[in-house]
């Protein structure tokens, strides 16, 4: 299962934190910081898998090859200024998780029309709603973009769009996340 979904920007400021297990705020923050440090070190050409940060590697027994409850893989993708991170156990396929992040970002792109970091900041609730349509309790429930969008629209109508437009009027430089759809 997926244990956590995180989004933060190039400076390590969180934009979305979703932990599918209850964790106290302090630990959440230090975990985010550790993962950010790992992501920040990586060149763009590196693969999308991170080694486990110290906080997670403590309990994980790397020797056990079979599935277990402990999170063992961290998948990330960086789009423009944002990094999307998924922490998961071995029951998730690493390559499929990369695709899942892509679906997430594409869905956001549809919701916000040329999504950028500002949209996610101001469309905070919509961001959570999109994720809620895709992943429930750490299990993927939907990967079909149309259905995800339909689910979110059913919740808030054109609210998300409105916020994005609002944000657009104030933002200085609006650059869409490049590389969307270029991947596969």
């Amino acid at each position: 299962m997926i244990n956590a979904v995180l989004v933060f920007n190039n400076n390590g400021q969180p934009r979305l934190t979703k932990f599918y297990t209850q964790l106290d705020t302090q630990t959440q923050q230090s975990l985010i910081a550790q993962i950010y440090r790992l992501v920040a070190q990586r060149p763009a050409s590196a693969c999308n898998f991170l080694p486990l940060p110290p906080l997670l590697s403590q309990g994980a027994s790397s020797s056990a090859s079979g599935p277990s409850d402990a999170p063992t893989q961290i998948t990330y993708r960086t789009y423009a200024t944002l990094s999307f991170i998924m922490i998961s156990t071995s029951t998730e396929s690493p390559l499929a998780l990369i695709d899942l992040i892509q679906v997430f970002v594409e869905a956001l792109d549809r919701m916000f029309e040329n999504v950028c970091e500002l949209d996610l900041i101001f469309g905070y609730e919509t961001l959570h709603a999109v994720l809620g349509e895709m992943i429930v309790g750490g299990v993927v429930v939907e990967t079909h973009i149309e259905k995800i969008i339909a689910g979110v629209r059913a919740q808030e109508g054109s609210l998300g769009k409105k916020k994005a437009v609002q944000a657009a009027s104030t933002s200085l430089g609006r650059g869409a996340l490049p590389g969307l759809g270029a991947w596969r």
Binding site: T25, P51, D69, S93, D99, Q155
Partner: protein
């Protein structure tokens, strides 16, 4: 009052660059006030702001009650904020949750789908056993909801319920299975069900074997790659239980591997074949081999052909899984794997390293290690310039990034590689010792202070990782103790690390690398002092004043080594006036050093210092007496403190295996009138008498070990060891150069067992070294001036020469004897119980962060049948949980009973009527509510549509 919206808050945050914290604090104060108002709009807005700030780490646990308030709002968008607050901020200790039960019940059975989704996606985050028990009936009813969106979310929600309340699965599973079996079911729901089954599958694979035909059908026909991946993952856990599945799966999997264009699916197929053990069986050899070759071929292709680093990474991941069972197949790919060791991507390198550890053999060990060493050297080259500012280390000039923890990791892996199976893969231990010395040099400069924490913690973690420096030191010690054949080399390596003037080269100032290495190294130097090249210089290094700043643990090992080396020094010279004065001088310096430590804050150091101080003071006294002979104290008593029995490696668990004698009474007092004894005036016991006793004790075993040299003048092999004596200015030698030099040396050795010291040019870099030594130390034993070792040989000496001869004649590939850990078996094997927990059977592992505990499901049987065996409680808290559940059950039953009474008053055509009429029950006003599901005893008369829906799954399950 004019309050901020979230939008304003964020704008304000962005507008207060630099003063964010103050701004946030003031915003938090505003929120605190706003959230207490009666105005729900204001409340919800304040909560949303709090949730936003929580993301940055600002605690909002104090607001949990207000979260509940907003959750109960009538407006959807406010409700959504409330639920989001619950997801983001509720923790296991949030108490208000108990108040939420009715609210959640109401929301689960509401008519609006978005409303209903809120509890469904929130419950997994906040669920508790008692909450699960109360909400189970409502959730089960949602499984037959008309909208697939609700059904799929409910299935997943029930899974999370089952994790805390396993009984839920018993009730839910038949329904989930119906959805899974239903051909007409919405694809999303089926996928969600498959995802859940995949999570459950590995806990209780037996329960899911009957699903195999349907899974197979879905795999072949669905065309949904997401689902196919999960099904393959699930099959991987099922095939070990049902060998017949293997045969059935082989063809479709092969088919997918050959045809699919989706790399993720291809990879999971290969992975499934590996993990499912499809490659392992004996029968069908031909077919299996074909598949194995196909898989490995595809993986190789992923590494070689694709420039995509992800594929490279996962291919290595898969190879890592194969290597345990098919080492030969993998080692055929050695060439590409070794290339990955140099990949710019650290993740890929680490995987390749893992793989290298897995498939290493004595042939490939040396090339692999030297490759890694070269890497480390490249990495440390820029690092050397940056030693003073480790912070900037992240941006070395060369393009590849070298985080220092990767270097640490590589060093660990090198040591893992070499030390595995008690050094069985190492052919040439001299090479290994040289590698260790090189590694000390290559240690990354900044080691975390926390790593220096000692055994207590490590014992708890099975595969503990020591501080690298300490580990290298320990390895040198291990080799010295275990491999007698290279003890001399190991000791000399230790010696070279110990020299004070070498330290600045090995251990850059400001780092604490030395602290770790020097401890074990000091022990080696002391214990095997007879092999030292220059005991005098070593001793001076041991008592250098800079040492007193070392950590206490290292220092106490130093203290133990000092008298041992001193004894060695005292035995090398010819007794006489000169010798006497030299020794007195040396002793004075040693005593001075010890005196400084006699007041050390660490008690262990203090005690050892004082003990040796007293002994050596006596020795100094004995020297001042004007006798020609060596004082007995120096000649025999002190040496005998440290000689006698050979120290052998002992297994860590051996101590625990010692059976306590029955006569041992740890509880009993020594004497009842202990205070009386203390009150007596102390009888003055001179130190000497104590010493004599000690010497007797050590003297007796000595007789039974005649070949252990003690009092004879120890012959020192005077061959200088060029390879360990590098200077600060010198570049680190490549491993090849070291090897070459070693070969040369061996060549020289072969011709002349009574080795003649090399002249200036042949000793190469050692010459300036010796000069420096001689000028700085003055009256040190001049090695180069002694042409030939004293040939007046005792038995001892002969043994030594033989040893040297043997060593020089030894062909390079001959294996040295490696001493294993000594341990012993007791009659009753109570030992395993006392072993540190490391076995897979022990679930008492330290739990990982973020981990969802599904172990309770392991005990749950999904087998249908009214009499499911009660699982024996193995832990106290499960019992407690059960008791809680029973109480809750009773409560629930009473609650249901009261509901039933109300229902009976309603006409038979309940739902239809309820649509028009408002009844007392809240939920009954909702269109979709099906009281039938909630209470199976009530008459089943609902709307036609509902009825059909209910019957459909029944019919299908009947077919199965």
């Amino acid at each position: 009052m004019f309050e901020k919206s979230l939008y304003d808050l964020i704008k304000g945050l962005r507008g207060h660059k630099g003063g964010e914290n103050e701004y946030i604090q003031s915003s938090l104060r505003e929120c605190k006030a706003e959230i207490k108002t009666q105005d729900m709009d204001k409340k919800a807005t304040a909560l949303l702001k709090l949730i936003y700030l929580e993301m940055f780490g600002y605690d909002m646990s104090w607001a949990s009650f207000h979260v509940l308030e907003v959750m109960s709002s009538a407006k959807y968008l406010q409700k959504r904020v409330g639920y989001l607050g619950a997801v983001q901020s509720f923790r296991p200790d949030t108490e208000v949750l108990m108040l939420a039960t009715n609210l959640l019940k109401k929301d689960i059975v509401t008519s609006s789908i978005p409303n209903m989704s809120l509890p469904l996606i929130t419950l997994p985050h906040i669920i508790t056993p008692s909450l699960a028990m109360s909400l189970l009936p409502e959730l089960l009813s949602r499984l037959s909801h008309s909208s697939p969106v609700v059904r799929k979310k409910t299935i997943v929600c029930l899974y999370r319920l089952a994790l805390v309340y396993p009984e839920a699965l018993k009730l839910a599973w038949p329904k989930i299975k119906d959805h899974l079996m239903d051909d007409q079911e919405d694809g999303s729901v089926t996928t969600a069900a498959i995802n859940v089954v995949c999570e459950l599958g590995w806990r209780r694979p037996h329960d899911f074997l009957p699903l195999a035909p349907r899974l197979f059908e879905l795999l072949v026909d669905s065309g949904n790659n997401w689902m196919a991946i999960k099904i393959i993952k699930l099959f991987a856990t099922l095939t070990p239980l049902e060998p017949r599945l293997t045969r059935k799966l082989l063809r479709p999997l092969t088919n997918i591997i050959q045809t699919t264009s989706a790399m993720s699916l291809l990879y999971e197929c290969i992975n499934g074949i590996i993990q499912g053990g499809i490659l392992d069986g004996e029968e069908n050899l031909q077919e299996r081999d074909e598949v194995a070759t196909l898989c490995v071929g595809k993986l190789r292709g992923m590494i070689v052909m694709d420039s995509d680093p992800n594929l490279k990474y996962v291919a290595l991941l898969a190879l890592n899984r194969i290597v345990a069972t098919h080492p030969t197949l993998v080692s055929m790919q050695q060439d590409v794997i070794m290339d990955c060791l140099d990949d710019p991507d650290v993740s890929i390198r680490l995987q390749a390293l893992d793989l290298a550890v897995g498939m290493i053999s004595s042939d490939s060990l040396q090339p692999v290690v030297s490759r890694l060493l070269d890497q480390l050297q490249q990495a440390s080259a820029p690092a050397v310039e940056l030693v003073d500012t480790p912070e900037t280390f992240e941006t070395p000039p060369n393009p590849t990034l070298w985080p220092s923890d990767y270097q640490t990791e590589v060093i660990h892996r090198i040591l893992d590689l070499c030390s595995q199976k008690n050094y069985s893969e190492i052919v040439d231990f001299e090479w290994y010792v040289a590698v260790l010395v090189q590694l000390v040099r290559l240690l990354p400069p900044s080691e975390n202070e926390d790593d220096w924490a000692y055994p207590k913690e490590h014992e708890a973690i099975p595969n503990f990782r020591m501080n690298t420096a300490l580990r290298i030191g320990t390895e040198i010690r291990n080799v010295a103790v275990r491999v007698k054949g290279v003890r001399m080399e190991a000791t000399r390596a230790a010696e070279s690390l110990m020299f004070v003037d070498n330290r600045s080269a090995f251990f850059p100032s400001g780092s604490n690398i030395g602290d770790g290495v020097l401890g074990p190294v000091a022990w080696v130097v002391g214990e095997y002092a007879e092999y030292l090249l220059s005991p005098n210089r070593t001793l001076l290094s041991l008592i250098d004043t800079s040492n007193s700043s070392l950590p206490a643990r290292t220092l106490s090992l130093f203290l133990q080594a000092i008298p041992k080396v001193f004894v060695q020094v005292s035995q090398t010279g010819q007794p006489g006036d000169l010798w006497n004065s030299e020794m007195s001088l040396l002793l004075a310096r040693v005593i001075e050093f010890l005196e400084a430590l006699a007041a050390h804050p660490d008690l262990d150091v203090q005690e050892r210092a004082i003990e040796f101080l007293e002994v050596l003071r006596l020795a100094a006294e004995a020297l001042t007496s004007d006798t020609e002979e060596v004082p007995f104290l120096l000649a025999s008593v002190i040496p005998n403190l440290f000689t006698g029995l050979e120290l052998n490696p002992v297994a860590t668990s051996a101590q625990r295996k010692v059976v306590l004698p029955d006569s041992l009474r740890l509880e009993e007092a020594f004497s009842h009138d202990l205070s009386e004894i203390f009150r007596k005036p102390e009888s003055s016991s001179p130190h000497d008498s104590k010493l004599w006793e000690a010497s007797d004790f050590y003297h007796i075993p000595e007789l039974s070990y005649p070949n252990k040299q003690t009092r004879d003048l120890a012959p020192v092999d005077l061959q200088p060891h060029a390879s360990y004596q590098n200077f600060a200015g010198m570049p680190v030698e490549s491993s090849n150069a070291v090897q070459r030099r070693m070969l040369e040396r061996r060549e020289r050795f072969k011709d002349d067992p009574f080795y003649i010291a090399p002249s200036g040019d042949s000793s190469g870099p050692s010459t300036p070294f010796h000069e420096a030594l001689n000028t700085s130390n003055g009256e040190v034993l001049d090695i180069d001036s002694i042409p030939i070792v004293d040939l007046k040989l005792g038995d001892e000496q002969l043994r030594h020469v033989d040893f040297d001869r043997q060593r020089s004649r030894r062909p390079p590939v001959s294996k040295l004897v490696v001493a294993g850990d000594e341990t012993f078996e007791t009659q009753n094997s109570l030992t395993d119980a006392s072993m540190p927990k490391g076995g897979d059977n022990h679930p008492t592992y330290k739990r990982s962060l973020l981990q969802v505990d599904s172990s309770s499901l392991g005990n749950l049987s999904l087998a249908n049948g009214p009499s499911s065996p009660q699982v024996p409680a193995d832990e106290g808290d499960t019992e407690m949980a059960r008791a809680m559940q029973e109480v809750e059950e009773v409560r629930l039953r009473m609650q249901r009973a009261s509901e039933r009474i109300q229902l009976e008053g309603i006409p038979a055509e309940g739902t239809l009527v309820k649509k028009k009429k408002k009844t007392k029950r809240h939920v009954s006003s909702d269109r979709d509510v099906d009281p039938v599901v909630k209470d199976p005893t009530a008459p089943v008369v609902g709307k036609k549509k509902k009825k059909k829906k209910m019957q459909e799954p029944e019919k299908l399950s009947g077919e199965n």
